[in-house]
């Protein structure tokens, strides 16, 4: 098992790369700021909430778009929710795709919506994956007795 400094360095690099790639944005930093001794698991809680919410929304969207008569209002509402959530935690790429998705919804462009749905799912998968890796790294550091470095 790598030493704490190496783990910390890996965490820092990994986090930096996430920002660099645009997967996360400044808002995620803000979230991390809110985590303190009175609220030690704030980020994890919020992110978990995000995962639950997003999965539900994505399922709803899939169902709605696969119907014969697509209810674009519902689509719009769900996409709005997803956009809101993703922007709240700083999932930048998800948010961006949601914006495009919403426009397609307003235009009632089925093709566009389906394409966007695919994209959103793809982006969501990426961000979920990356965040889970991040949290695992953090757990490892904590388990090794170190503290999580904050930039």
């Amino acid at each position: 098992m790598a030493g704490v400094p190496q783990l910390q360095k890996r965490l820092v690099d990994y986090t930096a790369s996430l920002f660099h790639e645009g997967v996360l944005d400044e808002q995620f930093n803000q979230l991390q700021l809110l985590q303190d001794d009175s609220n030690p698991n704030f980020v994890v809680e919020v992110v978990s909430l995000f995962f639950e919410d997003s999965e539900r929304l994505l399922n709803d969207l899939t169902k709605t778009l696969n119907q014969q008569d697509v209810d674009f209002n519902k689509v719009g509402a769900n996409v709005h929710q997803l956009k809101g959530s993703s922007s709240s935690i700083g999932a930048q790429r998800v948010q961006r795709v949601c914006i495009a998705f919403r426009n397609y919804g307003e235009e009632q462009n089925i093709e566009g919506c389906l394409k966007s749905l695919q994209l959103v799912k793809h982006e969501y998968a990426i961000v979920k994956n990356k965040l889970e890796t991040l949290f695992k790294l953090e757990q490892q550091i904590l388990a090794a007795g170190g503290i999580i470095p904050r930039s």
Binding site: Q27, Q30, D37, V46, G84, S85, I89
Partner: protein
């Protein structure tokens, strides 16, 4: 007398005839003497005044006594008794006394009476004189009345023709003229043209050269001048041999012009233009011009001049007013057109804003996503080019939108505290990579007295510096770029290059002076003014493949103007490099409030802003993630947070205890605005009501206006950072109002 005898009948001596006659005469004398006083009394009584009453008495007494004497004499012709003699003696004595007295008196009285006569003569003469004078005054008064009436007639109209016509008509009437004519100078000023006559309806264009001796004579005299009826100006009626033409008088009428009136010197003889008024008495009338008539004519001529000048002034002012009205209308139309154009442009821009940005973001987002996937090198190159071009396009769109907002004046600076040193360092960091590729050295020189913190618009200041430095880098092929920043002192502030720039020194502000010098290709001094004009790329700039939209420097200039500064470029010519300098006004940060400074050391984990401790806040948001993030934020700041996810729940939970309410107004299906109205109804008094803040995904003007209209106290853009939330809460609690700049 005969000796007394006893005979009763008197004896008639030889001369008894004489005695008889004496007797009769005495009788008549007595009669007369008695009747004179009676007559006197009678006539004096009849007359009203007689000053010498007592003289009359005296005279009357004298006469009466004389009469009595003569009467008594009647008895003395015959033998008479002693009584008669005594009476006679007494009478005579009295008569003597009285007559002497009267004689003495008359010496006094007769001169008096004579003088009465002279006085009477004198008074008669006086009366005659007064009569004459009365006659004169009456004539004068009548003349005056005529003049007043004529003046009134003339002045009652401002129409030139009416004035002149009325003058002639009235003069003709008052003075009973045969003919009355007015000669006006022609445009050339060399001739007089017959313009108006009394009796001829349409005078033929009959002209007379202006330099005739008779005309000069009249023009040189101030008053009316008698002229010969044979002079050309007076020959208006066809002459027939029978008539002896009446006397003719001519008077000059000064034609005053507006330009004649200087404020400091009233026109004396500066008017050179006169008209000629000719008046003819009826022929064969043997009438002569009287002084008072001439005076009347002179006065009228003056009045006419004044009236004409008034009419002229009025005409000109009417013309000016009409012109102004026309111009006004034209200007109004132009303004409305301009407004329509601006509105159209704004609408267009608003649409473009949304329409263009949306696909742009899609392109940029998707291209960057594409970049992440597996690509062949050629594909990667293509994608990178797509990204670069679309970024450029996005920048261009932003620039255009920014510029139009700048020109509208609707752009406002976001004033906040900023770290000046770090701004420059960031610019340096951004520019160095590109510069090093071109093998240019970039040196940054910050003066020692340059404050670290300042108050201003960080984003736009950086944009400006970046633009200027970027230009320097763009147009330099080799050599170096130097950036110098310092605080401008008062001497260096006033620059001859900026005549409109009036820097004001004060304790709250300082002027930052930035000088960017490059050793590049320079600018032709003639092109320098064009550099700040938008879209104006000179030939030399364009050939250097600038890749700029031409807007950059124009925008910079606008920003700098907004920051109350000035920018200018100097260049010694092509190939000799270029120095761009600008000065902007920045504020000194307040020393008191430490927490306002950005880049302050990060908060300790347990740090809670004491102001917010226990502050009861209500958060309404239907998005779970958003809700918990916002809650976490507020909890971190020490607030006591309650969350609701629907408006029913909200209305149930809201109470006076909650000091601040954050509500998401983007929730579809739930009208945040309506909720705000309901809250206002529920808590009509201000101090009972919580502060209402809207959380929204966009903070454009429409959203802000809608929020303001329904009575919200502020709008914040989601997502909110910790610092933003903290400052928002502070501001809200201080001022109870917050509307964020876009």
């Amino acid at each position: 007398m005969m000796e007394a005898c006893n005979c009763i009948e008197p004896q008639w001596p030889a001369d008894e005839l004489l005695m008889k006659y004496q007797y009769i005469s005495d009788f008549f004398i007595a009669l007369a003497y008695f009747s004179i006083p009676l007559e006197l009394i009678y006539f004096v009584k009849k007359s009203a005044v007689f000053p010498y009453k007592w003289v009359l008495v005296q005279f009357g007494a004298f006469i009466v006594l004389c009469g009595a004497t003569h009467l008594i004499n009647l008895w003395t012709f015959s033998i008479h008794s002693r009584t008669v003699a005594i009476v006679m003696t007494i009478a005579k004595a009295l008569t003597a006394a009285v007559s002497c007295a009267t004689a003495l008196m008359l010496v006094h009285i007769i001169p008096d009476l004579l003088s009465v006569k002279t006085r009477e003569l004198f008074l008669k003469n006086k009366a005659a004189e007064l009569d004459r004078e009365m006659g004169l005054i009456r004539t004068q008064e009548e003349t005056g009345r005529h003049v007043r009436m004529l003046t009134h007639e003339i002045r009652s109209t401002l129409d030139r023709h009416t004035i002149l016509k009325t003058t002639l008509v009235e003069l003709g009437r008052i003075l009973a003229l045969e003919e009355c004519a007015l000669w006006m100078p022609t445009r050339t000023g060399l001739e007089l043209q017959l313009s108006y006559t009394l009796h001829q309806q349409n005078p033929v264009g009959y002209t007379v050269p202006i330099h005739l001796p008779v005309i000069n004579q009249v023009f040189n005299k101030n008053g009316a001048v008698k002229i010969s009826p044979n002079s050309p100006v007076a020959r208006l009626r066809p002459l027939s041999g029978k008539y002896i033409p009446g006397e003719v008088v001519a008077v000059r009428v000064p034609l005053l012009h507006l330009s004649n009136f200087q404020i400091n010197d009233w026109p004396e003889l500066s008017t050179k233009r006169y008209a000629l008024m000719v008046l003819m008495l009826p022929s064969d009338s043997a009438r002569h011009w009287h002084i008072h008539e001439l005076e009347l004519v002179e006065v009228v001529a003056d009045q006419v001049a004044v009236a004409l000048s008034h009419a002229a002034i009025l005409e000109e002012s009417k013309k000016a007013r009409d012109l102004l009205m026309e111009q006004n209308i034209a200007l109004d139309m132009a303004r409305r057109e301009a407004e329509t154009a601006i509105r159209a442009r704004n609408d267009f821009l608003a649409v473009m804003n949304h329409e263009m940005r949306t696909p742009m973001h899609a392109i940029i987002a998707l291209s960057s996503l594409l970049q992440e996937t597996e690509l062949t090198p050629e594909q990667r190159l293509m994608v990178e080019t797509i990204l670069k071009s679309s970024n450029l396009l996005a920048t261009l769109i932003n620039d255009v939108l920014d510029l139009s907002r700048l020109e509208d004046g609707s752009l406002q600076l976001d004033i906040a505290t900023l770290n000046l040193h770090s701004v420059f360092r960031e610019v340096h960091n951004l520019v160095t990579p590109i510069a090093s590729v071109k093998k240019l050295s970039v040196t940054l020189n910050l003066a020692a007295d340059l404050p670290v913190y300042a108050v201003g618009d960080e984003k736009r200041l950086m944009q400006t510096i970046l633009n200027v430095v970027g230009n320097a880098v763009k147009f330099t092929k080799e050599g170096s770029i130097s950036i110098k920043a310092f605080v401008a002192k008062s001497e260096s502030l006033r620059d001859f290059r900026a005549p409109d720039f009036f820097p004001v020194q004060s304790d709250n502000h300082f002027y930052l002076r930035v000088q960017v010098k490059d050793s590049g290709s320079g600018i032709n001094p003639q092109d320098i003014p064009k550099v700040f004009t938008k879209f104006a790329l000179t030939q030399s700039l364009a050939t250097r493949n600038s890749g700029g939209s031409g807007l950059g420097l124009a925008i910079c200039k606008r920003f700098i103007n907004l920051m109350e500064g000035h920018i200018w470029i100097e260049s010694d010519g092509l190939g000799k490099g270029c120095t761009a300098t600008f000065i902007v006004k920045l504020g000194f940060p307040e020393q008191s409030n430490e927490s306002k400074l950005p880049f302050a050391p990060k908060m300790q984990a347990n740090h809670v802003h004491s102001n917010f401790h226990g502050l009861k806040v209500l958060v309404m948001d239907d998005n779970g993630v958003s809700r918990s993030v916002t809650k976490g934020l507020l909890v971190h700041l020490g607030c006591d947070v309650t969350t609701v996810s629907s408006s029913e729940e909200f209305l149930r939970v809201i109470s006076q205890e909650h000091k601040v309410v954050f509500m998401d107004v983007c929730m579809p299906g739930i009208d945040g605005y309506e909720l705000s109205v309901r809250i206002h109804e529920k808590f009509p008094k201000r101090h009972e009501r919580p502060v209402l803040v809207a959380l929204s995904g966009n903070t454009d003007r429409i959203t802000k206006e809608s929020c303001m209209r329904v009575g919200m106290d502020g709008v914040i853009l989601k997502p909110v950072s910790v610092d933003k939330m903290r400052s928002v809460l502070s501001k809200l609690l201080d001022h109870r109002v917050l509307f964020e700049a876009t």
